[in-house]
């Protein structure tokens, strides 16, 4: 932590998460799913959190929303400040005003994320009734308007239907309408397109961007799809084994990857440049066991750049440039290997 010095900012960020750590009690022992995560979300911007399954990205945002089941979950440390106010998983009156009102959320599988025995309109109207105190009638009319806004045809009729009468893409539109019903300042989208057809994916992403332009809200996008990141994000945080390993603007992450893991992700992704011929390369091995979190860098065992120190000490973060940090010993001033090796390899892709 002491290596990272936050740049002076005149106003507090919209959402600032500091040193968030989450554990789960399971039969096998305690899983340290999130191990100290920091990030900020700026007004009207999109932050993408990227990483493979099980890296803790969903747990991170769910704990901010207070959706972690406790027990077995437990937030062991950290704060989340919404406009400077504490907001982390508080089940207080304050916390409820945040959930659904200040922060909206959409989930991966729209098929199971909506109540099967409640009409779509009722479900969209619910946050309006809860947070704005609208009457049922008024909230339902507003729900129809929101459905129209989400480009659902015949919204008036659709609002009276049940989730099983909708297609997956339609449901995700309805989810978005529901999440933004109270005009939140942040929309958290937890893998919003993973369960959808490719053609539908683009439409949903478009819709999210339209909504963002209209309302000026910030988006926190959880995904493992670098294509989605490139299309949507302003800023990217790459997560690995419960920690953010690289953080920076989307251009920096893609064109000057400063962490071997980010590079590995890129190598595993197909390119659309017809001039470049290369094979997709998977990252060998598997992520570390979070039952017994490693002392050093979690990526060490799979890293082609690994050094002795990587196995024993965690690199707490080095600035590559202003606004671009990477947790990798390569950036240490005494390192025998230079980060340029990374950039060189990255340019090749």
């Amino acid at each position: 932590m002491n290596d990272i010095k936050k740049t002076d900012e005149p106003t507090p960020a919209l959402l600032e998460v500091k040193d968030l750590a989450v554990e789960f009690d399971t039969y096998g022992g305690v899983v340290k799913a999130v191990r100290g995560v920091d990030f900020k979300v700026e007004q009207g911007k999109t932050l993408a959190i990227v990483g493979e399954s099980g890296c803790g990205k969903s747990v991170t945002v769910q704990s901010i929303m207070g959706l972690i089941p406790m027990p077995p979950g437990r937030i062991t440390s950290g704060t989340a400040l919404l406009r400077g106010r504490e907001a982390l998983a508080r089940d207080t009156i304050d916390g409820k005003k945040i959930r659904g009102a200040e922060i909206g959320m959409i989930f991966q599988d729209p098929m199971t994320s909506l109540n099967p025995t409640m009409t779509i309109g009722d479900q969209i109207a619910e946050p309006l009734q809860v947070h704005k105190g609208h009457s049922y009638r008024r909230a339902f009319d507003e729900a129809i308007r929101l459905l129209e806004l989400s480009k659902i045809p015949e919204a008036g009729k659709r609002a009276k239907q049940y989730p099983f009468e909708f297609s997956g893409g339609m449901l995700q539109r309805a989810m978005i309408a529901m999440a933004i019903s109270c005009k939140p300042s942040i929309l958290i989208a937890d893998e919003p397109t993973t369960a959808l057809d490719v053609t539908i994916q683009a439409q949903i992403l478009d819709l999210m961007q339209d909504m963002q332009q209209e309302t000026g809200m910030a988006i926190v996008l959880i995904t493992h799809d670098l294509g989605v990141v490139a299309r949507m994000a302003d800023e990217v945080a790459v997560m690995y084994a419960g920690k953010i390993v690289e953080h920076g603007a989307v251009r920096d992450i893609f064109y000057r990857s400063a962490h071997p893991y980010t590079l590995g992700l890129k190598e595993a992704m197909p390119t659309n440049d017809p001039n470049k011929q290369r094979e997709l390369k998977p990252i060998e091995g598997s992520p570390p066991d979070l039952f017994s979190a490693p002392a050093g860098c979690g990526y060490c065992a799979r890293c082609p750049f690994a050094m002795q120190i990587c196995d024993t000490r965690y690199p707490d973060g080095f600035f590559v440039e202003k606004q671009h940090s990477s947790c990798c010993w390569l950036h240490h001033k005494d390192s025998t290997r230079r980060p340029e090796e990374l950039y060189f390899k990255g340019n090749d892709l």
């Binding site: 598997s286 002795q308 240490h332 005494d334």
Partner: protein
């Protein structure tokens, strides 16, 4: 970061597998066994079930007492009660003592389980007397108990009670009768605790004493030992529980095995053949399900007509099989239809597998778990039904003991000798409980959906 030396930055080479996959691969049944063993409740239940099986099968070898034999000296004897008995002379009729000291209702002679001899004086205003016996004090509501005898004149002032006497506390009352033999006020009551006695002849007959031992009148001997007491006919509870276990478990295990076997055959046939036959077969099963179950169990029992001397076990077995197979048939059919649609069956077929192979390798192993779980739940259910029917007198015919019929007999004397109800119902409860918990454990252990979720 002053402690970092250049050595720390020596490159590490190559890909290193830090995490070997340590869990060995287990077959379906091995995995299920591991899961079952981890489930403490299910494992404990398994031991209880094994112990019960031992009790039923091997019990009679160790406790060789005829469950039908009556010990008339010890009727409705609670477990662990005092077994000491005094040897007395053979019974001789009694005609009252002429000049007996004392006043009011009194004992003519020391009270024994052979006879309680009462004498009294004429009660004021009495035209006759009625003698009552109760196991509770009379109390303000004048609960005298059972009437033993009545006399419509004031000549007979003695009574000898020989009715089913036990060495416990009795309250004898004498109530004056009016001219119309109506009850008058002014009763007298006496508390009596008869002493347990037996005659020398009886003791010799039952093998309680040897000819050679010099036992004479006035000596004290111990009556036969009944570890769990006796029932209302003086039959040994332990022996009857063992015999009852054989009946209850025979029905409880036999019937499920039979109807599940039939259900599996029926269901898998319907599932395999499919089409119209399947529809017809399943519609028939639906009809059988719609029959009001308990009423038909009883109906079948009458239809079979249990004659004298028959136990009624066989009709009950048949009725259970006839009425209970459809649930299994439905389950197995559903399972077969589901498996038929699975990708691995198609894959296997594409690789050239024959029907026999498919059945042997895929269908049977994949339905076996479900069937096993069904059996574990069907057994307690069948035990329950047997107990239920025997309890309302529609099950096994007396004197054949079963836990249900024993409970039926026990409930009548629930207030005075609760052990006659407690033991058989405890056995039913523990058996059903253990089998239910074992079934829960088995289902969790065998459920493929639950695998790899933890």
């Amino acid at each position: 970061m002053t402690d970092i030396s250049s050595v720390d930055f020596t490159p590490l080479h190559g890909y290193r597998e830090v995490q070997a996959i340590s869990r060995p691969s287990l077959s379906y049944w091995q995995d299920a066994w591991v899961r079952l063993k981890a489930n403490k409740r299910a494992l404990a239940s398994l031991f209880i079930v094994i112990a019960l099986a031992f009790f039923t099968v091997a019990g009679p070898v160790f406790w060789r007492l005829d469950p039908a034999q009556q010990d008339l000296d010890q009727v409705s004897q609670a477990p662990g009660a005092n077994r000491a008995a005094l040897i007395v002379e053979d019974y001789e009729p009694w005609l009252g003592n002429e000049f007996l000291p004392g006043q009011g209702l009194r004992l003519g002679e020391p009270a024994t389980t052979q006879a309680v001899r009462l004498q009294w004086d004429v009660l004021p205003g009495a035209n006759g007397h009625r003698v009552y016996r109760n196991i509770f004090p009379v109390g303000p509501e004048l609960a005298y108990g059972i009437p033993l005898g009545e006399f419509f004149d004031n000549d007979t002032l003695f009574f000898e009670d020989r009715l089913d006497l036990k060495p416990s506390r009795y309250y004898y009352s004498i109530v004056p009768l009016g001219p119309q033999s109506e009850l008058l006020d002014g009763y007298q009551t006496i508390e009596v605790e008869p002493m347990r006695v037996t005659t020398l002849r009886d003791a010799l007959e039952r093998g309680l004493v040897d000819e050679s031992t010099q036992v004479k009148v006035g000596d004290q001997i111990n009556l036969a030992w009944h570890p769990l007491g006796t029932d209302y006919l003086g039959r040994d509870m332990l022996a009857r529980l063992m015999a009852g276990a054989r009946v209850s478990l025979f029905i409880g295990v036999g019937a499920p095995l039979l109807f599940i076997l039939f259900g599996v055959v029926y269901g898998s046939m319907a599932g395999f053949i499919g089409g119209r036959t399947d529809q017809l077969m399943m519609r028939f099963a639906d009809f059988v399900v719609a029959l009001p179950f308990l009423l038909f169990m009883i109906l079948f029992k009458i239809a079979f007509g249990v004659g004298p001397g028959e136990s009624g076990v066989f009709p009950m077995l048949v009725a259970l099989v006839v009425l209970m197979w459809p649930a299994t048939a439905r389950l197995v059919r559903g399972q077969i239809l589901q498996i038929r649609e699975q990708g691995y069956i198609t894959a296997s077929q594409l690789l050239g597998a024959k029907t026999n192979y498919l059945i042997l390798r895929h269908m049977i192993p994949n339905t076996l778990g479900v069937v096993l779980v069904t059996i574990t739940f069907a057994i307690p259910n069948a035990i329950f039904i047997e107990a239920f029917l025997s309890f309302i007198g529609m099950g096994v015919a007396p004197p054949t003991p079963s836990w249900g019929s024993m409970s039926n007999e026990g409930i009548k004397t629930m207030l005075t000798t609760p052990h006659e109800l407690i033991f058989p119902s405890l056995f039913i409860s523990i058996t059903v409980l253990a089998l239910n918990l074992l079934g829960d454990g088995l289902r969790d252990a065998l459920d493929a959906k639950m695998r790899n979720t933890e």
